[in-house]
Subunit: 673 residues, 2 copies
């Protein structure tokens, strides 16, 4: 990486200089136009830096994505959904190997987060009434800009279309130099363009529809949520949820009760979400239906400390702060403790989750050297976030956001409290009780009971939970008011002002949200573990760690003779006893071929039953390690135990191998007559 750094240095400097210019203009309160053009220049320089970095990294570690994807398809890790009907973009089905990998990752996630920190798991519905997503802001703001082909109705993402048109025109000889210069200046700005700016550029360059060559519409907002309706009447419009977070917010009160009213606590949810992408691409990275695992850690904003911060304080992580991004700077590698001290991270709770996220990603086999935590720039934050750090993984698609750790403050609880008129606050004990004047509406039971009989409790409760001043105001217009469907007379309520002592006060909790894209993590895990051996570069395999690997071992008899069967059964039963997924392959291919096949589906260990197994007592088998290719000889009765220890990371291969003879040594000492 040293070389790359030295090449990038001047580009970084150029970003930094321009960043300083922008800052200076802002402090001087320079004219808006001047600032805007300085920012545009800054963006151009940042893009040049980014492009160069991507180019250098790709050149250093070339990755054959076509071959990689062919391997995933051949072994059915996952595949395009509805392929026999021509396929649907952005929808994928997981096959047996992908499914097991995913189940293992989710299982580890549940242990690493939910069990480790006593979180409260919920499972909420995907189908969501519109009013909920109106309250959260998604119905208004969760949209991409698109243009429509006016002749055939095809739709395109406006920014992608403009990018593609510029790319094409730049290689076209007939494009004038003047226009090319304008295009080069425009290109880095596209990501931040407004609807109007995109429309203007599409017009200026006379961009046509790629499918028909015909005219396109002005850019328009397209909401990315799938729309449906609940029930047959048409009166309950609904969306499929775009994130699992909302379900946790809606259940906040129940979870707070479950936790005996105490903060902090975290709700967690693993589930599917949906985004109706205009034109999905990049495989598992941008799907229309995908699985997430989200945590909402609710805490009192007066105390953002975390009781387990010490367990992650020493971790050294690569931070890419927003200042560094503005300054063209490099990653800051420092401990979480130091990042807290330097105010790179704003509070312990956020810091704790960043640390846990790193440990999780490492545990599932993502390469720490290809991870970074990037802070969002102010202009790229989602509508609900106050601060956000993404765990990005470097893949052949560039840096990909796999986890987001967002500080949503009290945005969501406040939105829902306001829209639903339900109190979504928690209580904190005051250091000293305070006295306050209160105005109350006190139900007068005898009058209520006289009229409402068995509905008395409902009426009483309605009066108590209503706002007293509000009720009093309503009576100004007459002797009776309507409350929760009941007609209430003036005599049924007594209004009273008094001084009361309060030992607690209410507040809306803040929330830190670590949000994991399972599909993206799986993709990064697969790419980071795709490998070949020096002596056989054509044969590819996956080095997925045993803890996460779909199958923990293979069981391969060297012959199909019936005397092999009892050994296969014993070993298989032992493995099943530990719930260890394994693959018995009795097919007639050579052992080498069968090893290659198991390598391709990431099986870390191979158990081979050979003629020595059958003939020499006590019975032994060959145990092969995928990553080192080492083979040792172990007793049949130890096999399941050893695999279990290695699959659960209680022992490493090295530790196991040290205790048993190597296959070669053993064979020398145990010849078959």
């Amino acid at each position: 990486m040293e070389d790359i750094d030295s090449i990038l240095e001047p580009l970084r400097l150029s970003v930094k200089e321009q960043g300083d210019v922008v800052r200076e203009l802002k402090t001087q309160k320079a004219p808006e136009l001047d600032i805007k053009s300085a920012v545009a220049e800054l963006k151009k320089r940042k893009k040049a830096l980014q492009d160069k970095e991507n180019e250098l990294v790709a050149a250093e570690a070339p990755f054959d994505r076509v071959q990689f994807e062919a391997c995933l398809k051949k072994r059915f890790f996952y595949g395009q959904a509805f392929e026999i009907y021509g396929g649907v973009a952005g929808l994928f089905d997981y096959g047996p190997v992908g499914c097991m990998l995913k189940n293992n990752i989710i299982d580890i996630w549940r242990r690493h987060f939910i069990m480790n920190d006593d979180m409260l798991e919920v499972e909420c519905t995907m189908m969501t009434p519109s009013k909920v997503l109106e309250a959260s802001g998604h119905a208004q703001r969760f949209a991409d800009l698109m243009v429509k082909d006016l002749t055939n109705g095809d739709c395109f993402r406006a920014d992608h279309l403009l990018e593609a048109a510029i790319e094409k025109a730049l290689t076209d000889k007939s494009t004038s130099e003047e226009i090319k210069a304008d295009m080069r200046a425009t290109s880095p700005l596209i990501e931040g363009f407004s609807k109007q700016e995109l429309g203007a550029k599409l017009n200026q360059y006379n961009v046509k529809s790629p499918s028909s060559g015909g005219d396109i519409s002005e850019p328009m907002e397209f909401n990315l949520m799938f729309r449906s309706e609940i029930g047959p009447t048409g009166a309950q419009p609904a969306f499929l949820r775009p994130e699992t977070a909302q379900g946790i917010f809606l259940n906040f009160k129940r979870l707070l009760d479950f936790n005996n009213g105490k903060l902090p606590f975290a709700g967690a949810q693993i589930g599917h979400s949906f985004r109706n992408e205009i034109a999905p691409r990049a495989g598992l990275i941008r799907c229309r239906e995908f699985q997430m695992a989200e945590i909402e850690h609710f805490y009192d904003p007066a105390d953002a400390s975390h009781s387990s911060i010490d367990s992650v304080k020493e971790l050294i992580l690569p931070f890419f702060t927003k200042d560094a991004q503005m300054g063209g700077g490099k990653l800051t590698k420092c401990s979480i403790g130091a990042a807290l001290k330097n105010e790179v991270l704003c509070n312990e709770t956020l810091a704790y989750f960043i640390g846990r996220t790193f440990l999780f990603a490492k545990a599932i086999g993502i390469d720490p050297a290809r991870m970074r935590f990037r802070q969002h720039m102010d202009n790229e934050m989602a509508h609900y976030a106050k601060d956000c750090w993404d765990l990005e993984c470097r893949t052949s698609y560039g840096w990909v956001e796999c986890v987001g750790c967002a500080d949503r403050s009290c945005f969501d609880l406040q939105c829902h409290a306001e829209a639903s008129k339900v109190n979504l606050q928690a209580e904190r004990t005051l250091p000293q009780p305070i006295e306050k004047e209160v105005f109350e509406a006190i139900p007068v039971k005898k009058f209520i009971a006289k009229q409402f009989k068995k509905d008395t409790p409902a009426v009483t409760e309605a009066i108590q939970s209503a706002d007293a001043s509000d009720l009093e105001k309503q009576f100004e217009n007459g002797e009776k008011i309507n409350l929760a469907g009941f007609e209430i007379g003036k005599e049924m309520i007594q209004f009273k002002k008094s001084i009361k002592k309060f030992h607690t006060e209410s507040f809306t909790p803040f929330v830190i949200e670590p949000s994991f894209g399972i599909g993206r993590l799986i993709y990064a895990c697969l790419e980071h573990n795709y490998d070949c051996r020096e002596k056989d570069v054509e044969r590819r395999f996956f080095t997925i760690p045993p803890l996460v690997a779909p199958y923990k071992c293979s069981v391969l008899p060297i012959s199909n003779k019936p005397e092999f069967d009892p050994f296969i059964s014993t070993i298989s039963a032992g493995l099943k006893n530990f719930t260890l997924a394994h693959k018995v392959d009795k097919s007639s291919g050579s052992i080498g071929k069968r090893y290659a096949r198991t390598d391709e589906i990431a099986v870390p260990f191979g158990v081979t039953v050979d003629f020595h197994t059958v003939k020499i007592t006590p019975a032994t088998v060959t145990l092969r390690d995928r990553d080192s290719l080492d083979q040792i000889r172990v007793p049949v009765q130890d096999t399941a135990n050893l695999i279990n220890d290695m699959a659960s990371q209680r022992q490493t291969w090295m530790q196991v191998a040290a205790r048993y003879p190597s296959q070669d040594d053993w064979l020398k000492e145990n010849p078959l007559e």
Copy 2:
């Protein structure tokens, strides 16, 4: 049950007599009208029998559902979704306890079925293009009949509305005796009514809308699938899947490849499905969004044997055959082996899955005495099924279908092969090779390569996979034809008839589908395990077995003093090491109160840390068994191991208790000074 049987005997006899009448008329080929009226009479008698049985059973074991549901709500097992926005019928959120219970049940399912029988798990998308569900028949036939309130647009299930109207009219003094008689005769027939018959009766009884009192529409079909659209163009209509099965069928070819082309094999899927019920009721039993676990076991119809049938042959199960239902007969209790011999069960594969289903339901705590396997009558089978056996569980809602084991024969694979034009067959080796005349289209490479260059392989493949006779026919109209987007000249194809030797033949596999409704199983498990103790009937608890219980134990310090903390930490760390979910409750309530609270969330074991723990070395704790209320004294260091053994059913409480002193004995011998 003896008493109930003797009361029901005459009713059963009356059903049987009428069943014989219907059979006799059918064999005599009597006029259709005679048969119809005899069948109507049979249905009335069956309904009378069913009603009486339900009444007697409810009287024998009264179940307070209101209290039961209050308990589930209080401890947030699950609750109505979107409650703070008023709630949506048929949508439920699982809270922490329900979620853990569900995760455990799914985990056991995966081990019991997928791992035990080496099934291939897949995870397919829920969003499904319409054409797929048109091919499967769901777009046409997956509907309920509803009527619309013509004044306000409210919708009602036509059959439910008619039932409710009859019930009301029968208690109304103003209804004439003549009409009452007609209504009583109509009531048992409603379930089987056609659209026209329902409409006629609603008209005859002048049924009005319950919400406005206004007129209602004629009954109309309402498709129960949620509708949406993929992408922004409106050109890709879609539904949310109504079952997970279709995803397995669509991936049949990939799974067959994964299994090296061999049958039998089973695909399995655990996932969510959606049904837009018109008016859902009955809680978890009829939801609009629910989780299923489905297996599609593909096999060669020439061989429906199952290699593991012996493992279930001795199981004695309660079968309720369709003949018994026609004859008003009782359950047949017999072994699976006998049921196969007597042709109660039509093949080994179906029989095997019925046996495994029973074992699974028992393992997750459903009461075997409240289970039966009911065979579908011919007129109630889904459009795809040839035979079907439901595992029904008796609950306070009556007998509820929790699992269906359907024989779908080759219906689905054939539908999709036809609609997608993709071959979805498998191959079987012939006992002897056969010779057949074939007509082939052979690509002529030199002409293809000359014109298509790098597309040559694609063109070659397109020619080879097309139907040769079809291609020849197309050339009758000209020298060139269009194939897969390529313009193919006559010279590029050579047509050839020849005799070929075949060692295999193709066939469409048959499928047995065990389909599990997770929510219904959870509901049955909860109801069957809701209990109280004789000496304290007010205090309810759940006897869910340790294997499935959400939390495996509680850890309760008797005091909040800091010297208790190290013991809590040691025990908790030990439990986490085994991934055993547990609940530490340091709250100040009495131990009795805290036990009651853990009883309510089904915690099977309680660990109490008391002053003896702190003061006497080696440290010991009290271990309490929820079901027997027995308490023993065990060393702190044994605790996690013991809980782990009991939670994974390696040891029972009885076995553990036999090895340690009872709490009382131990206290007597170890007084605190």
